[in-house]
Every structure is written in structure tokens, then in C-alpha cells.
Amino acid sequence: MYYLGIDVGSVSTDIVVIDENYNVVESVYLRTKGRPIKAVQEGFKYIKEKIKTNEIAGVGTTGSGRHIAAFLVGADVVKNEITSHAVAALSLDKDVRTIIEIGGQDSKIITLENGMITDFAMNTVCAAGTGSFLDRQAERLEIPIEEFGDYALRSKNPVRIAGRCAVFAESDMIHKQQLGFAVEDIIRGLCEALVRNYLNNVAKGKDIKSKIFFQGGVAANKGMKRAFEEALGCEVFVPKHYNMMGAIGAAILAAERQIKWTNFKGFEIADVKYETASFECSGCSNLCEVAVIKCEDKVIGYFGDRCGRHSGKVAV
């Protein structure tokens, strides 16, 4: 039997299939592009070729789009990203004490003790240093994001970049470029600035102990890994499936639940046409923006109403 894990994030949608021993059998990594339903469907189209619907014994969803994904595929477990990431890391190594997770628009720190989360934090008011920002800088410098880290590793003399704010960091980078610094040095400087920002904001006041795991999409960036190692003075491990850890965690949580009958609707939903629309509810002064999901002109669900007038959940 297999278990399915889906992580619908701001930037990427990851789908993994794991077996009973939590080994990854299949995985797909897609860009969400603001269309979570379509991303999940595309992923299913790919997996459908390899795995049959009736082989799936449980489904877990996570990420910022976990609710809509759960609704779409019929999930058995809907979990937040923090728990999912921790569960996935613990399944690889029971001794992990700190997880640094940097995704598309989130950065998180999770501290663990004896295989149990003891504390966590997420970026609150600032997204400087997350994947979206690095993406944008790579684009601006016309360097493929995949090679961004290699550029940083080639640098001998990093330039100091102001990393407090994403916009000012960009201004500072442009300024340094105009002064004639090498691109490699600027990129390494940027990595160091982002690590500084992370340690001063997200990780402020947290005890960072090794073993340290670095996961999330940004972990692909070797420059960031090295900057973390230099700042923390110890080795930082990047797990093999660093960019899918959330989905793996969700799948493990579904497997742990040991449910008899899964709610899974099947990979066939990849071929169903879904439409989304939205309206502003005028039932009260809250004026909730309600999203509607339609399947072949039939309304199948509502999201975003606070009172449950449309979605039928417990009323506030």
C-alpha cells in the first residue's frame, strides 16, 4: 500500500507517494502559479501513469493551500506545515534538534527535543530572504536560479549587502553592481545577508543546536547552506528530498493514522473540469470574500466565509 502527501505552497506544489516504510516512491514538484487546483491536477496526471488509485491507503495535505487541496482530493489528514516538516525530518533522523525551513514566502524555525517539537517561529512581517525574493534576484541578474548557489560558492570576497528589507537589499545590490563588484561576490554577500536576517528575525531567541536540517526550496541553494554553516559554526544537513519534506510529512501523518477507508477521490479527478469563482457575501458587515468551487457547472464547495452560512461549518 502507498500513501499520498500533497503540499500546496505559495510557490510550489509537491506531491509524493511513499510506501509503508516511508520511502519515497514517486514525486512531482510543480509551480503553483496561483492555481492550486490546476497544479494538483497536473501532478495527478503524471502520477496516474505509475500508481493506481486503489493502491493509495491514505492521503495527507499540508501547505498554505492545504484546505482547498484536502477538499479537492478527499484527504484523510490536513496538517499545518510546521508539524509536517518536523515529522518528515524526524522520520529521517531521530536526533535532529533544529529545522531551518525556507520556502517560497515563509521562513520557519522548528526546535526539537527527544523527537518532539519544543518551539517554532515563522516570519511575521517580512518575507526578505525567502524563495520568491531569491527567484526575483536570479531573474534580475539573468542567472538561472539553479546556478545561484554555485555562483556564491565561487566568491572569495563577499560584499556586505543590507538585508533588513527585501526592497532595500535589492537597491543595495544594484548599488554594489554599479560600483563594479563581481556578481559572484554580490550573490555570496546576499546569501550572508539573508542568513543574518533569518537569524536575527525568525530565529531570534531560539536555541539553535545541532543536528541542524535545512529544508524547503531554498535549501537547493548551496550558497545559503554555506552561509548558514559559517554563521552557526557547525554542519547543516540538507536532506535528499529537501523540497518535498512538507508533502512527505503529510503522507507519513496519513500513514500513522492507520485508517481503514481512505476518503481519496482518486487520480481521475485530474481530468475533471473545475472552475473557481468568488463573490463578496453581503450577509453581514464582515463582507467575507467567498470562493466557490464548481465542477461542471455544479457548485461543490465554498471557502472563506467566517460564519459558515455557505460552507456549512460550525457557526461563529
Partner: protein
């Protein structure tokens, strides 16, 4: 004269029946909503804390409905709440709204004569004889006490209920019924009836729900709109909640106990080890409650405060030491008009997960 007052949790219920009892015309501002916040933010200084902005929204929405007098409790205290009334008066004046502000400060700040003069401004408008005015006050105090107690009961029992959503449903039903009457006596009997109903909600004491204490800045923990309905969210997750601070707690501790210097004595004593001095607002209370709730066997605490709240920033930096010393998880949440709900929800869910998994771990070890 048509009086109004800002929202803060159940305050409107107490205030409504006080005015009903006094026979004074009043407007309850529409319940807090995005609109109130938008209007309020538009006319407030950008850096001021969230309660100020929501209150401004309340005033303006009430003025639209004919209110001409605003009643507000004051504090000449060492946090920005102390300047709320003055600033709000100035802003409304600049907007060309012609109204009266009645600020009820403590006699220790403004003297008995001044307080008497201010109270007289309202009570002189009441056609009722003196004895009835006194009774109106007593009844209103009872009503706010009863509704706060009912709410606390619902929050506690929600973790144990057998039929999910029953406690929350009863509480909301009761609040709706209270708005339908103008008779304080009837309100009291409705409240008593619902207390009985709440006691009869089927619960299972074997269920061992996660128990969480809500601590922090008084306005943002009491007013559900400002904390994105955290208590409703937790009740839906089957968490049992305790929140000590409530409007009736405030009245009892600030108005009745303060002349004797006994305000929140137990909580402040508990805070002594970590924060021996008052830092304004309810910063010391927040620290004290964290200590008390860990001693009372709660699984964790959630601190909520508005961005830029001075007293709570002090307590926030102390909470990690308590967390470490007492092995007691505490989550701090900051709210303002920019708060995104998705990240907020994720943090709450992850924190409750943490508490659940922690407990399972402790159980499996024994």
C-alpha cells in the same frame, strides 16, 4: 442625548442594560467588522495600536446612527491607552463631528469631584429616581458578570463536550436573545436560564482536551474581532480555554479593588519573581498569568497583543524565561490591521499540535 461606547467583547451587553435601566437613549455600534476597521484606520495615526483604530471605527459608525455622546473608560496610565481619549477627541473634532466625550478616569487620577461631575453629565439625563439609578448600576454589574461567567464556562466545557459545537451554539444563542430585550431583570433571568443549559451540556470528563490559557493585552484578548476569533477557532479544535481577563474582571479589579491596592493581587504576586514592577497596561498580569497557568496544570499559553503594545513587549521578552524554567510552552501572537489569517491559523494549529504531541510523549514515557 444619545450615548455610545466602543466595543470590547461583552462590554456592549453590560452597557446596553445600564442605559436601559437608566432610561437613557443609546446606540450600540455595529459589531466590529472590516468596515469599522477600515474607517478607523483611515482616521487614526498609522503607528497607533490596533484597539485605537477599531474604536475610532466604532465611534464613526455610531455617529452615523445618531450618537452624540461617547462614554469611554480612561486611564492616565503609562501605556498609550492613556492618550486614547484625548487623541480621539481631537481627531473627531477635526472631522467636524460635534460630540461630547465622557471619560471615566479613576478618582486617584482626576479626583472625586471631577469624576462626580463627569458621571453627573450622564446620570442627570436619566429621568429615573435615584434609587432606580443605583439599581440600574447594580443590575448592569450583575449582567456583565453573568455573561462573562457564561462565556468562561463555554470556553472551558468546549473541550469536553460530546456534541461538537454545542457550547458555542448556546453562548451565541444567549447573546442573541439578550439583544431582543430592554429589561435588565429579564436579561438576568435569560442569563440564569442559559447558565443552567450550559451546565446541562453533555460532557465527558474522560476526554482529556488540550487546555490553553489566553494571556496578553486586555483589549485584543477580549475583543474577538481583533484576535481573528481565536477562541472560536480553539473551541472548534476541541481545546479547553481559560481567559482570566474579562470586562467584569476589569471592573472588579480596577474600580472596586484599586482603592485598596489589591488589584489583581494574586496574579501580580505570581509575577514578582520575573517582573516585580508594573510596566503599564496589563504587562505584569500577563507574566503572572503565565506563571499561574503553568502551576494550574495547563498545557500551554497563548499571548496576544497588538503591534507596538509597549507593556506586552516587555512581558513577551520575559515569557521565554518562564517557558524554560517551568517547561511550559508559550506562543506569542501579534495582531494589527495587516494580520494575515493564513499564517495566523497555521501558527495556532501548529502550537496545538505541539501541545498534543508533547502530552502523548509524556504519557508514553510513564
Amino acid at each position: 442625548m444619545k450615548v455610545t461606547f466602543p466595543h470590547m467583547g461583552n462590554v456592549y451587553i453590560g452597557a446596553k442594560f445600564l442605559m436601559d435601566g437608566l432610561g437613557i437613549d443609546y446606540v450600540i455600534p455595529p459589531f466590529n467588522s472590516k468596515r469599522a476597521l477600515e474607517i478607523g484606520s483611515l482616521y487614526s495615526p498609522e503607528e497607533i495600536c490596533l484597539p485605537f483604530k477599531i474604536m475610532m471605527g466604532n465611534y464613526i459608525e455610531s455617529i452615523e446612527r445618531g450618537a452624540d455622546t461617547i462614554i469611554l473608560t480612561g486611564s492616565c496610565g503609562p501605556c498609550r491607552f492613556g492618550e486614547y481619549a484625548e487623541l480621539q477627541m481631537k481627531i473627531l473634532k477635526k472631522l467636524g463631528k460635534n460630540l461630547d466625550f465622557v471619560v471615566l478616569d479613576l478618582p486617584s487620577d482626576i479626583g472625586f469631584d471631577e469624576l462626580k461631575r463627569r458621571i453627573n453629565k450622564i446620570s442627570s439625563q436619566s429621568p429615573k429616581p435615584k434609587k432606580e439609578k443605583y439599581m440600574a448600576l447594580v443590575n448592569a454589574y450583575r449582567i456583565i458578570g453573568l455573561i462573562d461567567a457564561l462565556e468562561a464556562k463555554a470556553h472551558d466545557r468546549a473541550g469536553y463536550e460530546l456534541n461538537k459545537g454545542e457550547c458555542k451554539g448556546l453562548l451565541n444563542e444567549c447573546k442573541k436573545k439578550l439583544l431582543e430585550t430592554n429589561d435588565p431583570k429579564e436579561a438576568i433571568s435569560i442569563l440564569k436560564e442559559y447558565h443552567k443549559k450550559m451546565d446541562e451540556v453533555k460532557i465527558s470528563r474522560e476526554k482529556k482536551p488540550v487546555r490553553v490559557a489566553i494571556i496578553g493585552e486586555i483589549y485584543t484578548i477580549i475583543e474577538p474581532f481583533s484576535n481573528l476569533y481565536i477562541e472560536d477557532k480553539l473551541m472548534e479544535m476541541g481545546v479547553s480555554i481559560k481567559r482570566t481577563l474579562s470586562p467584569s474582571w476589569w471592573v472588579y479589579n480596577t474600580v472596586i479593588l484599586s482603592p485598596f491596592g489589591l488589584t489583581a493581587k494574586k496574579i501580580r504576586d505570581a509575577a514578582k519573581e520575573y517582573l516585580p514592577l508594573g510596566v503599564g497596561g496589563h504587562g505584569q498580569e500577563c507574566v503572572g498569568e503565565a506563571v499561574l497557568s503553568s502551576e494550574e496544570g495547563f498545557d500551554g499559553a497563548i499571548q496576544i497583543f497588538p503591534l507596538g503594545c509597549m507593556p506586552e513587549i516587555v512581558s513577551k521578552s520575559i515569557l521565554p524565561s518562564i517557558s524554560r524554567d517551568k517547561n511550559f510552552p508559550i506562543l506569542s501572537l501579534v495582531v494589527d490591521e495587516m494580520t494575515g489569517e493564513a499564517g495566523y491559523q497555521t501558527r495556532i494549529e501548529a502550537f496545538i499540535d505541539l501541545l498534543e504531541r508533547r502530552r502523548r510523549y509524556v504519557l508514553s514515557r510513564n
